[in-house]
């Protein structure tokens, strides 16, 4: 008795490829068995393994309709732990895509400052792929990417390619070298702010990463003359349904799954139960 309209019914996907990003983060290229999949950069799926559970994971591949898509995630909970034990050819279950995604229409013809932290968030890569597919529509792209150590930099194998794209600038930083080879900046992602070339007028800021990082990104950028309205954050909450029913991801009057995960800084500041507003 299978019905297509049940929003809780997942679709089967096969793990086509596993890419080791960092010691605790992998990228999984998944291939859906049945239907094609259409999504926006910044959306997420509910990834599940029967007998273990479900988790919300943002999509990191290019947002083009395809049976194939990719997810990058850290080994951090029950579901991700179990999936790290799987190998290529194994089956997982997905449903989605869910969420609003990055407001790409807001950056048309404008410069984009993209501030990314950590290795748990792959949605910025999906955004970059989107921009690169249609490069002329968007202005300069400046990416600030910070991680704990050099080994934690995800998609490191693509960074040179990004740098070679016209009008793209990538500034990388690590908190500590941890004995590894690193000749770029050292410090928190906000310590790159003195080197920003993006001007507050006619630009938009997208940021994703740990909430505490996004809090200081917002505060520092406002000091530099950016307005609350031009900064967008991708929030993260643990979710059970992804469709605005289970209630877990609520922040006051908003669902992160349905109204987000991308919110304007000014909007998040008015909501309770997050680090940005501190209420």
């Amino acid at each position: 008795m299978k019905e297509m309209d049940n929003p809780y019914a997942p679709n089967m996907a096969v793990i086509k490829e596993i890419i080791k990003e960092t010691p605790d983060t992998n990228t999984y290229v998944l291939c859906l068995k049945e239907k094609k999949f259409n999504f926006r950069a910044g959306q997420f799926v509910m990834l599940s393994l029967f007998g273990v559970g479900e988790a919300a994971i943002s999509i990191c591949s290019a947002p083009a309709p395809s049976k194939e898509f990719a997810l990058t995630f850290r080994k951090v909970g029950m579901v991700t732990d179990a999936i790290f034990n799987l190998k290529e050819g194994d089956k997982v279950w997905v449903r989605g895509p869910y969420g609003n995604g990055w407001p790409i229409e807001k950056i048309e013809g404008k410069d984009l400052l993209l501030v990314v932290g950590g290795c748990g968030c792959g949605s910025f890569r999906s955004l970059l792929m989107h921009i690169f597919m249609d490069r002329e529509r968007y202005g300069n792209v400046e990416i600030l990417y910070g991680t704990r150590t050099p080994a934690d930099q995800i998609y490191a194998y693509e960074h040179e390619k990004w740098r070679s794209m016209p009008g793209v600038r990538l500034l990388r930083t690590v908190e500590k070298k941890d004995g590894q080879k690193w000749d770029e900046h050292i410090g928190l992602v906000t310590s790159l702010f003195p080197f920003i070339k993006t001007k507050p007028d006619d630009s938009v800021v997208f940021t994703c990463g740990p909430e505490i990082m996004m809090k200081f990104v917002g505060l520092e950028l406002i000091k530099k003359g950016f307005s609350e309205e031009q900064i967008y954050l991708s929030m993260e909450r643990r979710m059970r349904c992804g469709i605005g029913k289970c209630g877990h991801c609520q922040m006051g009057t908003k669902y992160v799954c349905k109204d987000g995960p991308v919110f304007c800084y000014s909007e998040v500041k008015k909501l309770p139960d997050n680090l940005i507003s501190e209420v």
Binding site: M1, F50, G51, V76, G120, I243, G244, K245, P272
Partner: protein
């Protein structure tokens, strides 16, 4: 035949319902679909509202119930040692229609505390969905609880339809009874959700003294009583209903005005009352115990947790959902932290939700049944918190 939706708004100044008709729902957010027959009223050829009113003897209720039990699963209020609760009833003698409030709300009929979403077979990588579609009657449900169901209807059938809920809902007939008496903790009269019901029923009873007034609210309701020869109500008897309602309205001791809090929503997140109620205790209540009783007994609380269970063969299992509560510590947990670590934040979240200012909006709003006040071991009273928040606004 034409389907229209009857919409009622409660005017607080005149303490009366204003009724109008519209296609679609209040907010015009959703495309209207004739799914929940209870929300619809049937019009005849000349576009007159076919609202039939009969008068029945009190003993006839038992007879009706007996006939329903032959064809339907019937849930009705049953008196137990520690209070009245909605139970599957198979003997009309157990019916207790004179109750004030049940301990747990009737939402469990539509939305069980725990239910299977589907079962799966790992060896075959297949899964099987489960849904139960038994024709059900909920009998003797009060106006506040019917209004709670109407809110849940909107919530579960909006953009992403919850098929488990809607399948049960389509098979549910609501046979409500108006409240002639307000309980100690009732405050539905302030919220327009009682003590008398204006919408959402298939059949509605009102105790008008010697007899019951029986009103038909939908085709489903009409079909259900077909074959019974009831006497049509006289104007006097209909007038009697109004008198009973006015008398009931005078019995209320608790009042709230949640709407007035809306304008001051943002300031109230930082109000010191949350610290006081949750952590210190007030003159009338102990600190919050985070026991989640309030959300368990709330007829509009819908939050759930999802679990997978696997059986001893390690091959077969099921995915379940179970009622959860924002009052529990684990609820807002995320990888590496918790966004509502303190009881203060959790209590604030729940109360704001009941004031209608959470993500589900009006769909999870309080209907004034008073169960949370009754159930709270610390004696926390939502009407008191609302009143104090309002007063602080000046």
């Amino acid at each position: 035949m034409q389907f229209l939706r009857k919409i009622d708004t409660f005017n607080k100044n005149s303490r009366k319902f204003i009724t109008y008709f519209s296609f679609g729902n209040r907010n015009h957010k959703n495309i209207f679909k004739p799914l929940h027959i209870s929300n619809l009223l049937v019009m005849d050829k000349d576009n007159n509202l076919m609202q039939e009113k009969f008068v029945i003897d009190k003993e006839d209720v038992n007879e009706l119930l007996r006939s329903f039990m032959k064809k339907y699963v019937v849930f009705a209020p049953v008196e137990k040692k520690h209070g009245v609760s909605f139970q599957k009833i198979d003997d009309e003698k157990n019916l207790c229609l004179s109750y004030t409030s049940t301990t747990t709300p009737p939402k469990k009929v539509l939305y069980p505390y725990k239910e299977k979403l589907f079962s799966f077979d790992l060896s075959k990588s297949e899964f099987f969905e489960s849904k139960d579609n038994k024709k059900t009657i909920i009998f003797g449900i009060h106006p506040c609880d019917v209004n709670a169901i109407l809110q849940l209807d909107e919530f579960f059938s909006n953009s992403m339809e919850d098929v488990y809920y809607t399948a049960r809902r389509e098979n549910l007939i609501i046979f409500a009874i108006n409240c002639n008496h307000a309980g100690e903790n009732c405050f539905c009269s302030s919220l327009g959700t009682g003590p008398f019901l204006e919408k959402g029923y298939d059949l509605l009873l009102t105790d008008i003294g010697e007899k019951y007034l029986l009103e038909v609210g939908s085709d489903k309701g009409k079909d259900l009583i077909q074959g019974n020869e009831f006497r049509e109500a006289t104007d006097d008897e209909i007038e009697k209903k109004r008198e009973v309602e006015e008398k009931a309205l005078r019995e209320f001791k608790k009042f709230v005005d949640f709407d007035s809090l809306k304008n001051i929503l943002e300031e109230k997140y930082t109000d010191e009352i949350w610290e006081e109620v949750a952590e210190e205790g007030t003159d009338n209540s102990f600190p919050c115990l985070s026991c989640a009783s309030c959300s368990l007994v709330c007829p509009t609380c819908y939050c759930y947790e999802v679990f997978d269970y696997i059986d001893i063969s390690l091959e077969k299992g099921s995915r379940f959902r179970e009622l959860d509560s924002c009052q529990l510590l684990e609820y807002a947990e995320v990888a590496g932290g918790n966004f509502r670590q303190g009881r203060k934040e959790r209590l604030r979240h729940w109360m704001m939700c009941k004031f209608g200012f959470a993500a589900a909006g009006e769909s999870s709003k309080c209907v004034g049944c008073g169960r949370c006040i009754e159930a709270c071991p610390a004696g926390i009273d939502i009407t008191e918190v609302a009143r104090r928040l309002g007063e602080r606004n000046g």
